[in-house]
């Protein structure tokens, strides 16, 4: 074997270890969701999965079966519904408002533009838990605690800065002449935006949307304090609530976790092409 071959083997060996490290935690959780409780608790451990089943999911979605008592103890359908409503609505509004703002930054020069931009980005750095305290006080006063609207509003504010960052980068990539020629071609500013700039930055806006969705879907620090009941608690809060109990039903919790994992997996595939370009925009080019 020459030096190059040894090198290649080393590279592949490291790559495989890397893949194992990345994949194991998630896979292990997913696998557990389909395993019987006895196997999970067994000692010594049962390494090769056997008797895979859907009992945990059935219990969760359709209430208990085989002698357990009626409804599942985990209101997973409420969590799921809340997560979906809150994430989709807040993403839609954040992308709408953020894209318009990003366009404003990309296409206009005004005094202290960079300072405004930085200021808007800085709102994103505030730790969720710190922000949750005053919002909790305000929401308690005006009755927005434990409502979809309240949480959606907060998530919109959370997602606007990053949407602006991404879309500003994408809009700036489109030559200004493109909309100028459209305007001499007879378009109003709005028509030029709609026919030319929007289609050209579609992929950027899509990835901004996916990011916003993931951030809303995955958020915990704020929503855990602003949601009080199953009226507005999301999947992450649900997972936390039931994991904090003294006796944890691990397969059951893993089944709940699967609901959180699925969108992350799907959206990663959708966004991966634009992710890097999106993130490095503005970073390197200025």
């Amino acid at each position: 074997m020459n030096k190059k071959q040894i090198n290649n083997i080393l590279i592949w060996f490291s790559a495989i270890i890397l893949i194992i490290l990345i994949m194991t935690p998630g896979l292990w959780v997913v696998l557990t969701a389909f395993r019987p409780q006895v196997d999970v608790m067994a000692k010594p451990a049962v390494w090769i999965p056997r008797n895979l089943n859907l009992i945990q999911f059935e219990t969760m979605l359709f209430g208990g079966s085989e002698g357990s008592m009626g409804r599942s103890p985990i209101p997973v359908l409420s969590y799921l519904r809340n997560s979906l409503i809150i994430s989709f609505t807040s993403t839609f509004i954040a992308v709408l408002v953020g894209t318009i703002g990003g366009y404003g930054f990309a296409r206009h020069n005004f005094k202290h533009k960079n300072k405004y931009f930085l200021l808007i980005m800085l709102t994103r750095t505030i730790p969720g838990i710190s922000l949750s305290l005053p919002i909790f006080i305000i929401f308690s006063k005006i009755g927005l605690i434990d409502t979809h609207i309240g949480i959606i509003l907060v998530f919109v504010a959370l997602n606007i800065p990053f949407t602006i960052w991404l879309t500003d980068g994408f809009f700036r990539q489109i030559p200004r002449a493109m909309s100028e020629v459209a305007m001499t071609d007879g378009c109003t500013k709005l028509q030029a935006f709609w026919h030319i700039e929007l289609p050209l930055s579609r992929s950027g806006i899509a990835s901004a949307g996916i990011f916003a969705f993931l951030i809303s879907w995955n958020e915990y620090a704020l929503v855990s304090n602003l949601a009080r009941s199953t009226d507005s608690k999301t999947l992450t809060v649900g997972l936390m609530d039931f994991t904090a109990q003294f006796t944890i039903n691990w397969p059951g919790m893993c089944a709940l976790a699967v609901f959180i994992i699925i969108p992350a997996l799907i959206l990663t595939f959708m966004v991966q092409k634009h992710l890097v370009t999106g993130l490095t925009f503005g970073g390197v080019k200025g």
Binding site: P175, A177, M178, E180, V181, M183, T184, T188, Q191, H195
Partner: protein, 364 residues
């Protein structure tokens, strides 16, 4: 089909005045070229005509209608941009038809006019392609096609050829000229390349630092430059320019350079200068020729100098030599071998020597 007029137009960027109260009348169907170094205000002027920049001062009219408060789309102008600015997500056909679609024309009429424009520009075979599948020259044609389908009152070109390589640039230059003959619409064309300006324009406007230095036909500017700047800007190689002051010698006014060389003031200008005046005098490369290889002009002044460098270009040869301390260039049209360090006798044609006042820069 319309004339365009700018009356006292200014443009400010913050505190900088990019265009300074310029007046300009562009005649109907004229091909007018705005030329000047970068930052001279030519692009700003064009963009104000298009409506892409606010007019800070003065009035712009197209036809008899004031344009100041109209949006670009309301001005019925078309613009061709430096980087073509083709819509990358549309086919060539959609690019051409876009403005008509926005205007709400019927499908069959759009198609008819797109094909007509495509025919004029010889791009019919590319109609279904996307801009990314076209070469630079083809993209340029599509950009022009997009401008002509609208049948605008005025075409605006913003340095449309500066991104093409030299060969294609020459070819497209000819095509733009031909296009103008075919559609005979008023064209305002911005460039920094004086060769482009000379070959394309009916009239040229030379700008510098936000003001108009001179307006005239290409030949006008070449033969009768109004300022020192115009004289050096137009023509290639650039006009030789030498600083001097007027002295009296043998009852005749002469020009004394900083190196002490004394050249008589041309006869027709004897009365236009006064003793002690600081001037520059300029002459084109073809107006100072080696006596050995050229004809001696009727009114000549002679000097001897050694060749620094010779550039044979085929039909002509450029000879770099010294005029005192200053390097000048001479052009001869005979295919003779000239080597570095050859000492030659040069004759300067005084009838074709231009004088400029050093303070005002104006021609004398």
């Amino acid at each position: 089909m319309a004339k365009v007029s700018l009356q006292g137009v200014s443009k400010f960027y913050g505190k900088v005045q990019a265009v300074k109260k310029i007046d300009l009348e562009i005649i109907n169907k004229e091909f007018l070229v705005l030329v000047g170094p970068s930052g001279c205000g030519k692009s700003s002027s064009l963009r104000m005509i298009a409506g892409l920049e606010e007019i800070d001062e003065g009035i712009i009219k197209i036809g008899d209608k004031e344009m100041n408060n109209l949006e670009p789309r309301e001005r019925n102008v078309s613009m061709v941009f430096q980087n073509y600015a083709l819509y990358p997500h549309m086919t060539v056909e959609e690019n051409l038809g876009f403005s008509l679609k926005i205007a709400g024309l019927a499908k069959n009429e759009i198609e008819e006019r797109v094909h007509e424009a495509a025919g004029i520009l010889d791009i019919t075979e590319f109609l279904q392609r996307k801009p990314s599948q076209l070469s630079g020259g083809q993209r340029q044609r599509v950009a022009m096609g997009r401008a002509i389908v609208r049948r605008p009152d005025v075409f605006l070109f913003d340095e449309p050829l500066s991104n093409l390589d030299a060969k294609l640039r020459n070819q497209m230059r000819t095509e733009i000229k031909r296009l103008h003959q075919k559609v005979s619409t008023t064209i305002v064309y911005v460039t920094h390349d004086q060769v482009e300006a000379m070959t394309l324009a009916d009239r040229i406007v030379i700008m510098k630092d936000g003001i108009i230095e001179q307006i005239g036909t290409p030949l006008d500017l070449f033969e009768r430059p109004a300022t020192k700047f115009v004289a050096t800007f137009i023509g290639s190689p650039s006009m030789n320019m030498i600083k001097a002051s007027i002295v009296k010698q043998n009852n005749e006014l002469s020009m004394k350079t900083n190196d002490g060389i004394i050249v008589p003031v041309p006869k027709d200008k004897q009365n236009s200068v006064i003793e002690g005046q600081n001037i520059s005098f300029g002459f084109r490369a073809e107006d100072i020729v080696p006596l050995k290889f050229g004809q001696k002009p009727s009114s000549a002044w002679e000097m001897q100098s050694s060749v620094n460098l010779a550039e044979p270009l085929g039909t002509e040869t450029l000879i770099f030599t010294n005029f005192g301390e200053i390097e000048i260039v001479s052009r001869m049209f005979t295919p003779e071998q000239v080597k570095s360090n050859d000492v030659l006798d040069f004759a300067l044609n005084l009838d074709r020597t231009y004088l400029f006042d050093e303070n005002s820069g104006l021609a004398i």
